[in-house]
Assembly symmetry: C2
């Protein structure tokens, strides 16, 4: 028998791989996220086996019953144990005591507290309101671990309640349409980390995403066929309600409205006709604030949409008006001067004021991005701050309530630590009076979707959003970044058992772009690169709404865990605090990276999607080689010669730049090592 060439057994790869740190429960810190307000650990643990059953003491509100069923289903996924007894067990090992019913429409500021007592033999979850019970169930699920005795939860008493009442995630379904199943699995994620608002950004220049029966051309001409039916919207709202999550819709006006104007050009400020926008950026299309017909249209539209979305709050957007269509329209200019509207901002303020009355007429409280804040903005309007923390403080001082999104822009590829340390009550917020502080409702992570698809949106949202969830739920003093990262790794893994695909689909994308099952050398590269922060990506390459997002930059997480860990290691070495094992580890990693390029290059040539990685892979190799040299110098107490130092420094400076729109995250720690080796 002869093995055929196409199936020759590929030589074993003598590569080093990196294991994740094991999260030991011996560690006093429990891997909970968000960290509860009060935790008191005891001795021993509660074990979970097939006899585990949940019982209700008090309400049997359908939401609670449904939550118990979902809890058992998730617990089965976390353990592989089928629970024959199901809910309402006759001798429950887990008792939920709560009263009342979940309101048909969830309200801002409901009691979300809970009290969870785990003993070696029983679990008692108590909550004044079923919403608290939902949170307590998620806390329990986060505590489940395999142990030498089986799956168990440590003995613990937890008293918990949120710091802020408004803790949200915004998903932009306008730029890239995000189908219902993807929305729903992300709602499962929100529930898991105790977020309670899903802000659904539903219209953009690139697409109008909700069926309107009154104005069918909104989707007929403005969606490219990609939109939610009203039935789907109702299903999502109920799905969210069952998970204790409010759904706040946003229809962005008067700008970011090109998709509306394709079907209804009479709303626009220019002559039209309009086309759906297929690029990213800020566009001129804007509603005409000077025509009464605009408000007549919007009143009817709001009547329909406020009926569809039951939440008390209604987001009208209001951001990023460039005013160009207004400036170019003599009729609008004439109107402005006749009505004393001195500039575009004043015109928008006029529009917003009119809109606010319409929204109020439909018994909703208006919310808008911080541009809508004016001195005379009605006091009940909620301001979502995105251009800085100052506007949030300004709103609070002025008597308006607000929430923070500045610092929580998860589309910008910033590390979890950066989001984590942004506090709604820091900066200008720290100077507010108690009454003003009370107007700061919380915050929202914002998933703008220029560069996300249904495939990779999970990996942009998770796990980083869990860190933001902790900021908004946990006491302000919970802010140890190392602890956060330790716990985040555990939560990230658990979220896969809630059905999220952030890790799984990244693997599939690597297989797809390489055409190889489990492409190890590609994974070595993928583990240490990340996209540049901020808006750089769109500046480096031309992207449109139908540009395939199927390259390495789209597969890798926004933050390289391994890059961060190697950076910590380099710091220890430079500070003279590294153990011999840590020195060896640094060396092993650098050897892995140095030698990877030679093995990866043949693969890169086989795929049009990977050709761009050729210089990136070469650079990683060179970076690692320089790092190894620096390690040698440091361990031999040899000061790098000045010329060589300068040369290496210059090369590394250059290697900091993105290639294939990706950063080599080994460069900064190697720069640390090289500098240290040059200055001993």
């Amino acid at each position: 028998m002869r093995l055929r060439p196409g199936f020759a057994i590929v030589p074993l790869l003598g590569i080093l791989i990196f294991a994740s740190p094991t999260y030991s429960q011996k560690n006093a810190e429990l891997a909970l996220m968000p960290m509860p307000a009060h935790v008191a650990q005891g001795e021993g643990r509660f074990l979970i086996d097939g006899s585990f059953g949940v019982g209700l003491d008090g309400t049997n509100d359908p939401v609670v019953v449904s939550a118990m069923r979902r809890f058992l289903a998730t617990l089965t996924r976390e353990t592989g144990i089928p629970f024959a007894g199901g809910v309402n067990a006759s001798q429950p090992s887990f008792t939920i005591s709560t009263t009342g019913a979940v309101k048909p429409v969830l309200q801002l500021g409901e009691d979300e507290s809970y009290h969870l007592v785990v003993t070696a033999t029983h679990v008692q979850l108590t909550a004044a309101n079923p919403l608290g019970a939902l949170h307590g169930l998620q806390t329990f699920l986060q505590l489940v671990r395999i142990t030498p005795e089986g799956f168990g939860v440590p003995v613990v008493t937890i008293d918990d309640e949120p710091r802020f009442p408004w803790r949200g995630l915004m998903i932009d379904a306008g730029r890239h349409f995000i189908p219902v199943p993807v929305i729903e699995r992300n709602l499962d994620g929100l529930e898991a980390v105790k977020l309670n608002v899903f802000h659904w950004h539903l219209s953009e220049d690139q697409g109008f995403r909700v069926e309107s029966k009154l104005f069918p051309e909104l989707t007929g001409k403005g969606s490219g066929g990609l939109f939610y039916t009203q039935k789907q919207v109702a299903e999502v709202i109920e799905y969210a309600r069952e998970r204790g999550i409010r759904v706040v819709p946003e229809f962005d006006m008067p700008c970011h409205t090109t998709s509306w104007l394709v079907g209804y050009p009479q709303l626009g400020s220019a002559a039209g006709p309009y086309q759906i926008v297929t690029k990213w950026g800020i566009f001129d299309g804007a509603m005409d604030p000077t025509r009464e017909t605009t408000y007549q249209f919007l009143d009817k539209f709001l009547g329909e949409m406020t009926g569809l979305f039951p939440d008390t709050y209604f987001h009208i957007g209001g951001d990023e008006c460039d005013g160009k269509e207004w400036d170019a329209n003599p009729r609008i200019k004439a109107y402005m001067s006749a009505h004393g509207l001195k500039d575009d901002a004043a015109l928008q303020a006029y529009f917003t004021g009119r809109l606010q009355k319409l929204v109020a007429g439909h018994h909703k409280i208006m919310e808008g991005w911080d541009e809508v804040l004016q001195p005379d903005t009605p006091r009940d309007v909620v301001i979502q701050s995105w251009r800085g923390q100052t506007s949030l403080a300004l709103a609070a001082k002025q008597g308006n309530r607000g929430l923070l999104s500045t610092g929580y822009y998860i589309d910008l590829n910033q590390p979890a630590s950066q989001h984590y340390l942004v506090d709604p009550l820091s900066g200008d917020g720290a100077l507010l009076t108690p009454a003003q502080r009370a107007r700061v409702l919380g915050g929202e992570a914002t998933m703008w979707s220029e560069f996300v698809t249904p495939e990779n949106i999970d990996s942009r949202i998770w796990p980083r959003t869990a860190a933001i969830a902790e900021r908004l739920w946990s006491p302000q003093e919970v802010r140890d970044v190392d602890s956060m990262y330790r716990r985040l790794a555990v939560v990230s893994q658990q979220l896969e058992f809630h059905g999220l695909e952030h890790k799984h689909f990244a693997e599939l994308m690597l297989e797809r772009m390489s055409g190889v099952e489990d492409p190890q050398y590609l994974k070595v590269l993928a583990a240490v690169v990340q996209p540049p922060e901020g808006y750089k990506r769109g500046q480096l390459k031309d992207y449109q709404s139908f540009t395939p997002l199927n390259r390495l930059i789209d597969a890798v997480p926004p933050e390289s865990d391994l890059g961060r860990r190697f950076n910590e290691l380099a710091k220890l070495i430079v500070q003279g605090k590294a153990t011999p094992e840590q020195w060896q580890l640094a060396r092993d990693w650098l050897v892995l990276w140095r030698d990877n390029d030679a093995k990866l290059q043949p693969l890169l040539g086989q795929s049009e999607l990977m050709e761009e990685l050729v210089p990136l892979s070469q650079n990683l190799s060179k970076t690692a080689e320089i790092g190894l040299g620096a390690l040698d110098d440091l361990s031999d107490h040899r000061v790098t010669e000045a010329g060589a130092l300068q040369q290496k420094t210059a090369w590394l400076k250059d290697a900091e730049k993105p290639q294939a729109v990706l950063l080599d995250m080994v460069v900064p720690p190697v720069e640390l090592l090289v500098q240290a080796a040059g200055s001993h």
Copy 2:
């Protein structure tokens, strides 16, 4: 800054890992499965980019339109390219020409042929019947590969049609309930490999799984709450129809019926009361064939169920009657002697004859397991052969049509090659006349569910069922096992893009049982073990229907790919045909396995689910050590000393036995090496 102990960077693992073979398209063989009847490859390739669009020439039957949409969605998952144009593109690069409409109820033996012509600039798919078009779309999807020019399909002309008209998969939803989403994703898998029958085994001693409005206690008392509503059944049937798949229901009678008797003990042959069975095996509960009320019940029941399941064929089971309840009931014994029914087989034949008339009265053709075949069985009854190929030939000779399941029992953990080489027309079938052969309709893989759950059922069905699909579709002479395994690996990866979880969930199960993300040392062990074949598992340990199936045996595939590949390598070495690289590869693998135990043991102690793996891991290490010794002897041309040989042989013989109900698949190839080293 100090790294905390719980997060100390774990030392890099200096382990070797094994890359999968890359499947090169330079290979003349296309990775299609089932292999088409006629393939003619040309030069060059058709490239797929965002402008790709599909158009229809001829029918616009809803099933074809829906198939085009699904085709584009799958193509997007396979490539990451969004196709703006969607279906009915104005200038299609892919044209489907077909006529007619898909029948409301699919019929056995419809024309499934298709003709696919791929040129560098256009694709033409032609089929007389839309069902053929569905198959052609799947062939195209299997051809898509990443290339240096982008995603493409090689220039090729394919003429294809199935060898057998009945190509099925049976899923047993009785023993473990399998929820609708799992059924549906497996239907996607059937479509991908051109299987056209979903045989839905719906009742068992352990559960009755379909809502009956006439007899609500069938599920009320016989399902433990786990059953399909009639609405869900209708949805599954339509889902299958859209994929060209018939749905044949099975209600197993008169035995395997305990779950019916829990709610309706008057049907039973013993006094009752009955309880749902929670063990595996053959049980005594049986319908009473001697009472007219039994047939009155069944006539009504069949009236309801034949209305729900539109397929022409209706499976009544008929297998494995132990007759104990009949023998123990004097009234039944008296009836038998009064009616000249000489034994239990005759009584069952009497029952089956009565049942057949009822089924026919509801305008269905009866199907049954081979026990139902009697000399006077009506000619239209279809026999499903499971106890050997002989009964299939016997049925054909007698004038009955039949299909083969002997050899396709995918619950028995046999290698794909074994299933693959079983031919419905081999053995006794080879001796049939052409007219008799025409009565052999095809075959069915059978997924009995004692040891499968919704979590791991995909990994039991896939990819092996694709090999069976090829046997039933492709020309009889397509039977090269090496080729099959090469193509199977590619199809297996592609099935993940159809939504199947056979690889993904196995990974999650390893993480779950270890509590560690990406547990590399556990994976090294997992890659070379497999469950024992046949029914051994149930004999080695006591299993019940609620026993958690969350251990290594439940996570690993039924066949170890690496074990098989190492065995091939050992053969080459023994035959003196191995290259120096192959010698080195064998050595590297053995070193990996030898050294793995020391690293894995600490992990095993942390989990109750893994403690049982301690000896298995130790044995792998010892096996590998012996293998390395044999390699040394072979390469040094040294004959192993007789005493040592005997000792090693005895140890290996012992190591062949399962541990933790798992086989160490490195043992057989090491035995080869040891024997060779002892007999030079």
